[in-house]
């Protein structure tokens, strides 16, 4: 299962590398319906991306109620879950993204011990 995921990631990586510069971020945000937590997360991630990754990110928002099968495929347990598909390594962020420092450390935009 893990290997499979890596494979898709590699494919995506190659595709992404072919069409964009390497620093492009691909995010997927999984939310469970339009709960306050979901809207909070969407707002927070958009704000962060605009501020730190302007022009070099892709964000897709998916409602897991609409596509429940994806939860198994993407190993989603929590909502909201943000998956950083690219650049590797794959990272998962769970929560409403109110802890911006953790997010920035997680996507290597901020050194860990600051």
């Amino acid at each position: 299962m893990k290997r499979k995921r890596e494979k898709t990631s590699t494919e995506e990586l190659t595709k992404a590398a072919a069409r964009q510069d390497p620093a492009t971020y691909v995010f997927r945000l999984y939310v469970a319906g339009m709960t306050p937590k979901s809207t909070q997360a969407i707002a927070n991630i958009r704000k962060l991306c605009k501020k730190h990754l302007a022009g070099r990110y892709k964000l897709e928002v998916i409602d897991i109620y609409q596509q429940p099968k994806l939860t198994k495929e993407e190993q989603i347990i929590a909502s909201p879950t943000l998956i950083k598909k690219l650049p590797l390594p794959l990272r998962r962020f769970i929560g409403d993204m109110s802890d911006t420092d953790k997010f920035l450390v997680g996507i290597d935009l901020k050194p860990k011990n600051s």
Partner: protein
């Protein structure tokens, strides 16, 4: 307890299909509620959960969902194969759905408030896809190691169990055992309906598995630990600890296989379904007696299960053929079944479970353990006693005659069984050796036999090539003799007896002779007397005749005096001389 005013439906139970569990839980796990299975590593939690799901799907038509947090679906399939179930096939038939929840802490960053809706959706999706009625979460504690916000986790778990209940799922949640609490993360707080603890203990290098129902809300349950066994057919739990003393009894008597021993036991032998113990030191013939009993049972056409802890079946068969007992024929006919194992091979509970399984499978009328004392090698004396109590109760319940041998050690009291199980025993035979005049012979006596008048004599126990024989031992002149001493004494006795008899005969002959002499004397005297009597009679007769003649003459004389001739007087005289 206060009686409920309104009629409350008793808790509905969901049969687990796990051997023995439904008996100790009186019907199974609480239906539509979560059950927590906790225990240390390797205690069999996953297997328990797995079997619950499989039996449910195959035997009770309840599809199930197996959500694993530890193993991948491929590993899971391998585990199922060990129980003989083809998981991929069951998945394709829609009986089971599996989901491997993969949580890697290194990949996850918590950035604020979240919930576990994703997990709910996954579970819900799996339940809907199969129409599941049973759910297994193995081991949901992995969430705690993957996620750090325990506040959220605990709230979400509470919600999850509530949600499972609402959906009517009979769920098993497994949990790793903790130091002070039943589970490491206190899952028992949330799963309040039924908690089962699995235990895996090693005592003196021997492992035993035990199961205990810690809690079962709305149902009575025994507080005991039940030993269980994991083998290729899954889990078997022994439900036999709660048996009472209300087993059926039989008045039927069965032969011991030794006619003389039958005679000692009221002339009829043992009661059917009774428990017989044979104690004795090494080499006193315990196994021979067991084999004879087994042989007798098979002759009656009864099945006999023979647990041998010292010898292999082949060795027993060979050895017993030397005393004229052919056990091989019964094995061939399927009446006799041997189970041979070293007692230290596995733990005591395992032995009990093995006994139990073997008895269930073979359904014997006679059950032999030779020797039961070797079980001490597999556990503490107290544990052995408890196991034997349970075993004997179970056997009694099924009216199976039980024949146990007990190896006592030289030096310790013979009348003390090593397991102190005497109170459980109905008939207790003691084999002992009697050492006398440089010989060692075997003696047998009955220490006790409940419900019959039995012999109080010590019998000499002989192993002949025609089997076991019992001989009265010599008890004359105030001492007991056996073996050749007995033979010598008997010969001496026979000789002196012969001499005595001859003396008596001689005296009898003498007496006879004397009697004959006496009789001869009596006869002679009688003859003399008779002769005298005869003489006297004759004389008396003559006198009578003479008197008559005299009278006649007197008459004639009178006539003559009146005018008769002297000639007439002469003729009368002539007549008289003629008569003389």
């Amino acid at each position: 307890m206060v009686k409920a005013k309104q009629k409350v439906e008793p808790i509905e139970k969901c049969p687990s299909g796990i051997m023995g569990l439904d008996e100790i839980t009186k019907g199974g796990l609480p239906k539509g509620r979560p059950t927590l299975i906790c225990g240390g590593a390797g205690s069999g939690k996953t297997l328990f959960a797995m079997e619950f799901l499989l039996r449910g799907a195959l035997e009770y038509g309840d599809p199930g969902v197996f959500m694993t947090f530890e193993e991948t679906s491929a590993d899971l399939a391998k585990n199922f194969i060990t129980l003989g179930f083809d998981l991929p096939d069951m998945i394709s038939r829609g009986l089971i759905a599996t989901d491997h929840v993969y949580i890697a802490r290194s990949e996850i960053e918590e950035t604020g408030d979240y919930d576990l809706e994703g997990l709910f959706i996954r579970l819900g999706n799996a339940i809907d896809s199969t129409g599941a009625k049973r759910v297994v979460l193995d081991t949901i504690e992995a969430l705690f190691s993957g996620l750090s916000n325990t506040g959220i986790l605990r709230a979400e778990l509470r919600r999850l169990f509530h949600w499972l209940k609402e959906r009517g799922m009979t769920a098993i949640i497994t949990g790793e055992g903790g130091d002070k609490t039943l589970t490491r993360y206190g899952l028992e707080e949330y799963v309040a309906d039924c908690v089962i603890l699995l235990d895996f203990r090693i005592e003196e290098q021997i492992a035993t598995r035990r199961l205990r129902i810690v809690k079962y809300r709305g149902s009575s349950h025994g507080p005991d630990e039940h030993p269980f066994l994991i083998d290729d057919s899954g889990i078997s739990i022994l439900p036999i600890s709660s048996l009472g003393l209300d087993y059926p009894v039989s008045n039927e008597r069965i032969s011991t296989g030794v006619p003389k021993l039958d005679a000692m036991l009221d002339g009829k032998g043992f009661y059917r379904g009774s428990t017989i113990l044979v104690s004795g030191t090494a080499g006193t013939g315990k196994t021979s007696l067991s084999a004879t009993f087994a042989d007798a049972a098979c002759r009656r056409g009864e099945r006999c299960l023979y647990f041998a802890f010292e010898e292999s079946p082949r060795q027993i068969i060979r050895n017993m053929s030397s005393i004229g007992i052919d056990l091989a024929q019964w094995v061939k006919k399927g009446l006799l079944k041997f189970h041979s194992a070293r007692p230290s091979l596995y733990g005591l509970e395992m032995h009990l479970v093995t006994f139990h399984k073997a008895i269930e499978a073979f359904n014997p009328r006679v059950f032999i353990v030779d020797p039961v004392s070797n079980l001490t090698a597999a556990g503490t004396p107290a544990a052995v006693k408890s196991i034997l109590t349970r075993l004997i109760d179970y056997l009694k319940m099924n009216a199976i005659s039980t024949f146990l041998t007990d190896l006592t050690h030289i030096g310790s009291s013979l009348e003390r069984t090593s397991e102190e199980i005497s109170s459980l025993i109905d008939t207790w035979l003691l084999l002992r050796d009697i050492e006398l005049q440089g010989e060692r012979n075997r003696g047998l006596y009955i220490l006790k036999s409940r419900g019959m008048s039995h012999s109080n004599q010590i019998q000499e126990f002989l192993l002949t090539n025609q089997g076991i024989d019992l001989v009265d031992i010599y008890t004359g002149s105030g001492e007991a003799l056996t073996g050749s001493a007995r033979a010598v004494q008997e010969a001496q006795e026979k000789a002196s007896e012969l001499a005595d008899r001859q003396e008596v005969e001689r005296m009898l002959r003498e007496q006879e002779r004397k009697r004959k002499v006496l009789e001869a004397k009596i006869a002679a005297l009688r003859a003399e007397f008779d002769a005298e009597s005869k003489e006297l009679e004759l004389m008396a007769e003559e006198e009578r005749k003479r008197q008559a003649l005299l009278a006649e003459e007197r008459l004639k004389m009178a006539q003559l005096r009146k005018g008769e001739s002297s000639a007439a007087r002469r003729s009368v005289r002539k007549k008289k001389s003629k008569g003389a």
